[in-house]
Subunit: 403 residues, 2 copies
């Protein structure tokens, strides 16, 4: 298959590009290096030393003999270039990672809120409009988030996108319908993914575009079999207060002897997935496209559910790290239950990597190896969900969980 | 109250500005003249001769002694100017009409789809972000559309925004929740209003903004008591294939002896409201703001439900016009039932103008008076919902219903 990967230089995009290339697909990356630019803005950097994309691509060619193309396009702003690329390459599938993906970053200021909305809605809608204009029948595989559902499930198992509900008809009878699960996003970032869902639903209905939306849990881990083939292929590892995800932040904190920063009680229950499973899930989705005219396929791309405090405890036991309960910059419930269905991807053949299998390896393999590159100043989360006066303490630190 | 009207030069915005000014409120209009620019683009014009905004404002001052302020700002693009205006004027309420509001226009081309999404999402999100940044407690009153619900109601009365549903919990019990009514927009334009809803829900939850969303039916009529005070205050009347709404198009067609263009069977059932009631509803909403921390208030701003073919028949009987059944450029059901609750606005005191009261007056008062200004070339709807090859005939004409 000919596959375009929008955002193919990022944390999920890069290993996915390599994995799909390794599977024999013809892969082209589209990226505007927004993620590397955000590092410059935040004075942050990946714990792992990542190479420029040109070096990465050359290394991949050297190691495997396989070429990955590259097109520098801002998908949210340069519609004409995107359209021309689609008309030119006529891909079979387009994997869409071209979105700002950090919840704390999306809440830093008005500018960050507006950038996140403009970029994420713009990239998704430009893509859909361009596919229609190019009269292309490409399958769009989008990285969504479990966060569209919110975390107050009222005892209901989170279904894969669609929920069966019953309501009263005017004549007194009961009607049953399957609806898009009612959303409850916890940040501007998560909200953009709920907007994406409605864009997808409209274009699937009006233009019969073929779309799969992967509602991913919080990703942990760094390397995949492909990124591990050569140090120049190494994947990024974010530990800063904006882009670092909770489990990777704990791993790095343990490696440098920094207390594990847990927000509030740590009673928040969240869904997790290893980056190795992310790339497999995208492959499974790409290789099983919906029919034209089908509604949007939605899969929950997660493999395990844990409470944040339990994760901290697990890592503390493995490493001897201390746990520090700090104030929570987010506006969220202090604890919740979470029941999630992930049958679709299991049925397509996913065999998950679990924390129990792999956690210690991640600590020693990555966090320990590169701990000297850590800048402790970048660890605290400085974003606040509501204005300063309304939070209960200042100088908060945070576990950033950009799912 | 100090009130900003975003989009205050438009079809609903202008009479609303006058009405709120007449009620004793201090009104400032914000507009970028996008609606007048669209006329230039489409080589179309209002059937009624509308004056430049400066002339309108001067006439209002002359007639009533009341001043309406004006600020030329592109709300979707010039965030800094909007923020400065909010910080400067600190309004009590902001009425938000600053959106591209024609469904056929939103479907004309990729450019029009993208413009509609960028403009409507941009204006709404800029407004919300600016209110938070300005630490303002202004009540936002937004003009939504009945079209967010879609028109397949499965026998359920369309509630005012929120629907009570029952679902199965994991333990086998039944859970009841009130959710935002599942959306089913019929055009890119309508879709943007479903995106607005999610933006509003997030900012009401995270920042406790006070928001009322008015899901309006298809507006008909032209004048209000205030726009009728002086010819220089006259409201616009759109009859072209993009911006003309179905009933006003029928009225104008009858006046010039053009057959009433009904799409398909005309079995589409829609909700309607007179422009005089629009301005009253906005006033009622503005004067009854929600509390801080309340969820978004949603009212169905409509007064009557009719089938399109019945409207055509009514006007044919009144005027002797012929009816022409033409192909439907829209992708929509050929007929539907529609049951709508509009209790909230009735309880606030709305006393509706009905078609039975006022229809003939509209034909003779406006359509007949200005019929010589009509350009017949502008009547057909040239937009198509899907690519040409998929429609059943070419050269379609249309009833444009930008609700």
């Amino acid at each position: 298959m000919r596959i375009l990967i929008l955002g193919g230089d990022g944390f999920c995009g890069w290993p996915t590009s390599l994995h799909l290339s390794a599977c024999g697909h013809d892969v082209d990356i589209v990226d505007n290096f927004a993620r590397r630019d955000a590092d410059l803005e935040l004075c942050a950097d990946s714990l792992t030393p990542i190479e420029p994309l040109e070096v990465r691509r050359a290394a991949w060619y050297q190691v495997t003999g396989r070429d990955i193309g590259f097109h520098r396009i801002d998908v949210a702003r340069d519609y004409e270039a995107l359209l021309a690329l689609l008309q030119d390459t006529r891909p079979d599938a387009i994997v869409h990672f071209a979105e700002q993906r950090a919840a704390p970053y999306s809440m830093k200021s008005s500018w960050h809120k507006r950038y996140t909305v403009d970029n994420n809605v713009g990239s998704t809608h430009n893509l859909l409009a361009a596919i229609v204009e190019a009269q292309l029948d490409a399958h769009v595989v989008h990285l969504g988030t479990m966060g569209v559902y919110g975390y107050g499930t009222a005892g209901v198992t989170l279904p894969e996108g669609y929920l069966a509900v019953r309501m009263d008809a005017q004549d007194g009878s009961e009607v049953e319908e399957e609806i898009l699960y009612p959303v409850n996003p916890g940040s501007v970032y998560h909200m953009t993914k709920t907007l994406d869902q409605l864009l997808f639903a409209f274009y699937a209905k009006n233009d019969e575009l073929r779309i799969t939306d992967l509602h991913q849990g919080i990703v942990w881990g760094t390397q995949t079999p492909e990124t591990g083939l050569d140090d120049r292929l190494i994947n990024r590892f974010d530990y800063d207060g904006d882009y670092g995800t909770v489990l990777n932040r704990f791993l790095m904190q343990a490696a440098i002897g920094y207390p594990l920063t847990v927000h509030g009680t740590g009673g928040q229950t969240r869904a997790f997935i290893h980056i190795r499973d992310t790339v497999r899930c995208v492959q499974l989705a790409v290789e099983a496209p919906p029919e034209r005219g089908e509604r949007v396929r939605i899969y929950n791309q997660m493999t395990e559910v844990h409470r944040v405090i339990d994760l901290a405890g697990m890592i503390a036991r493995l490493t001897g790290a201390e746990i520090d309960l700090v104030g929570n910059p987010r506006k969220e419930a202090s604890h919740n239950d979470l029941l999630v269905s992930n049958r679709n991807l299991l049925e397509l053949g996913l065999d998950p990597v679990t924390l129990a299998d792999d956690l210690l390896q991640e600590v020693t393999g990555i966090a320990e190896r590169f701990k000297d590159r850590c800048d402790r100043e970048r660890i605290p989360c400085r974003s606040r969900w509501v204005a300063e006066a309304e939070t209960d303490r200042s100088g908060l630190e945070g576990d950033a969980r950009p799912v």
